[in-house]
Symmetry: C2
């Protein structure tokens, strides 16, 4: 089902592919985030976004865009926009009224550093900025004239991934489920929305950076995104019990401590690991089915999502 | 400068113009907000948005769109999107870490009713929904196929109005200014961003609902929007000291109580009233300059902004 081992990228090959993309994303985020904002707000926005995180969503956008032969300028904007939505969700999720977390990526969380009010506003402003990045006007963008139909499609995909039927909706279900028994379909639906929607949305945004992609390939990309989106959460649940806070860069064991249902609490550790492998197989099979010529990076990212240790 | 009194709309004429637009907006919001969201989140979103508020931003969108002969379908979406951004900002602004307000439009605030976490998420989801409404795909929209260039432009205008150089940025400056002396230019800049940007953005979004508007007319519309945006805040400051909580539907006197700089604290009551009248004159002059044929509703809305008692 997956590519023969001799053809699959190892971690070094993925790192070599990722490096220039990550450099572009970091440079673009540094150029675009919080620069013309009022000083404390801008600082909080930059603190929340720059120099942190795995940048998985940007890499998925970039890899998906390459797979379909998408526009690099549009993909860079979409990559940054997806990361901003992710970053804002972490800022709000860490607030005292939500998870009340003080440590994120090994650093004090935004509200610890800047106060709750500025953290709230920084998250709000990051969400708005995501949509601003997706809609450059020709004058500001210079050579970077993303066609307006592509701009509108990227906004549509991101808004759906972020909103009440995506990330924010999943967080609300998560909130309501603390201390309650969820069965596996309910847990899956919660995670499909909370984490999966933006990961899948990142893949779809990347695929939207080409003017025309065959419908079956698009459908396969969506399936790939859905599978790795869920796999990501299953692995998160595994790491929450197997890794320590230092490696994770955030508080380990907090799901168990707060009596949240997880894949591990539902399926056991071995069951959760088997689930992750099964989802990896689903993702790789979808890439095969896409019949797109250049899916090596997407394949390697799927492996990375499942094999990561933080 | 303004139209002769015989030609200006009175309150009854404005109400007659507004009525069908408001009915359309209420029906659309009820159809679009929180309907497919997880139950508590959807309830909080609807509570925050439906059956409340003056709907000034939607009316500005509608009036501006009519002035340029814009598409009614695009204007309805833009009107609702602007209102969602406004509604989300109120939800977040009322949170304990911001203004800690318990009364809004005569009802308990969202966090009092639904808890802080769901209020936070409802605000986040409302912002995402605003951009989702602006980017319907042809299939979902039915007959309502807003051209993608118009979708992208509407998203751009809304994102800029809402973000760190607009509403969220102004709120951050407001936060940082409590107890500090601001001079009039600083106060003006804060309000231009905090309240003015979305009001001006609403006018610009309405003007963006026509495929082509002469550049001088667009510039005049922007000037109109800027003037009434600022006038709105000046009047807000006046009402904060002259009206009671019952009439306002929110806590009166709270700016003075929290030692926030206001136009009244800076200019005195008479000075603030003179400022509001001057801005009204600026707005009406801009409409004259626009040379657009049908600006009666915009003119009447400018009067309403300045003459309102809540």
């Amino acid at each position: 089902m997956s590519a023969p081992a001799a053809l699959a990228w190892d971690a070094a090959r993925l790192a070599a592919w990722s490096e220039p993309h990550l450099a572009n994303v970091e440079a673009a985020l540094s150029r675009w985030v919080g620069v013309d904002a009022p000083v404390l707000l801008g600082d909080a926005m930059r603190y929340a976004v720059l120099d942190g995180g795995k940048r998985l969503r940007p890499l998925l956008v970039m890899a998906a865009s390459e797979a379909v032969g998408g526009r690099a300028d549009a993909a860079l904007r979409a990559a940054c926009a997806a990361e901003l939505i992710h970053a804002y969700s972490l800022v709000h999720d860490d607030l005292p009224c939500m998870d009340n977390d003080v440590l994120r990526r090994g650093k004090p969380t935004v509200h610890v550093k800047f106060g709750e009010a500025d953290a709230l506003l920084a998250g709000d402003a990051l969400q708005a900025l995501a949509f601003e990045l997706l809609t450059p006007d020709a004058e500001d963008a210079g050579d970077d004239e993303v066609p307006s139909a592509m701009q509108a499609l990227l906004c549509r995909l991101l808004a759906r991934a972020a909103g009440s039927q995506g990330m924010a909706g999943g967080q609300a279900i998560d909130l309501a489920s603390v201390g309650r028994a969820l069965d596996e379909p309910q847990l899956r639906e919660m995670h499909r929305m909370k984490t999966g929607a933006l990961l899948q949305g990142s893949v779809e945004m990347g695929a939207a950076c080409a003017a025309s992609v065959p419908a079956p390939a698009l459908a396969a990309m969506r399936d790939y995104g859905a599978a790795i989106g869920l796999a990501f959460q299953v692995v998160d649940d595994i790491l929450d019990v197997t890794a320590d806070s230092h490696t994770l860069g955030k508080t380990a064991g907090k799901d168990a401590a707060s009596d949240k249902p997880t894949y591990v609490s539902l399926l056991g550790l071995a069951g959760a690991r088997a689930q992750a492998q099964e989802l990896l197989g689903t993702a790789l099979a979808a890439l095969e089915r896409s019949a797109l010529p250049d899916t090596d990076a997407l394949r390697a990212l799927a492996h990375m999502v499942v094999d990561r240790d933080r």
